[in-house]
Amino acid sequence: MSIWEYANPKKFLATSEKVMPALWVSSAVLISAGLIWGFFFTPDDYRQGSTVKIIFLHVPSALMAINAWFMMLVASLIWVIRRHHVSALAARAAAPVGVVMTLIALITGAIWGQPMWGTWWAWDPRLTSFLVLFLFYLGYIALWEAIDNPDTAADLTSILCLVGSVFAVLSRYAVNFWNQGLHQGASLSLDEKENVHDAFSSPLYVCMAGFVLLFLALVLYRTGTEIRARRIKALMARERLEA
């Protein structure tokens, strides 16, 4: 069996419909469990008070905002190299999920930053690169909508995705590249001094796993929708030709 079998839309739809119920249920269970654990059963931080509970939404959404773009990059490269339509449609399907994840990370970051830093926003390297990533997501979605020919749209959005990857990398590593700004380093690290306390990291891992599964469920579902929408266009074009 080869992974390229899933480039066949029928095979992709049949397989994704089999795994999707498990993905929806497990993501709902993990996100609910992680948020209930984090919100109700973790202590306040000695410096940040109860605002630390925002970490259970902020970190998983930021993680998915960056990784959604990388998934789009891989799918776009597959399109550019192998011309599989399903991969181009999967990239298109992931963009609205990525934009919502980026928006959640930006909003929760601003709400958290206000009492901790004394400001909603600062032109800090990580915050700024995240805002640029958000704008790239909007541009990517707009470009898909603006071009009628789906192959041309897939080509151009793939190039945009490649360019935007610079900002996805910067969003992740800006804190390491520029040792300035308000945003702290990674919350989860192998370095014990840098890592958040176990009381917070365990529910955080549960939430992160839930967000990853939710992303997968949403992208599979949305890719199925894109495949069907493309088939509708093809059928309508055939109907017009025959009329």
Binding site: L35, L57, I232
Partner: protein, 51 residues
Amino acid sequence: MPDLGKYADTVLSAYGASLLLLAALVVLTIWRGRKVRREMETLEMRMKRNG
């Protein structure tokens, strides 16, 4: 409900906004998916009928 102290509004607004956005994303995804599936089935049936 845990005692969130002076940051209650901050924490609750972060949770409220995030859960609202997540719920909207899931609902809109499923709504559009069902709509497109219905349209495709209708079109396929019509084309089958018309030969």
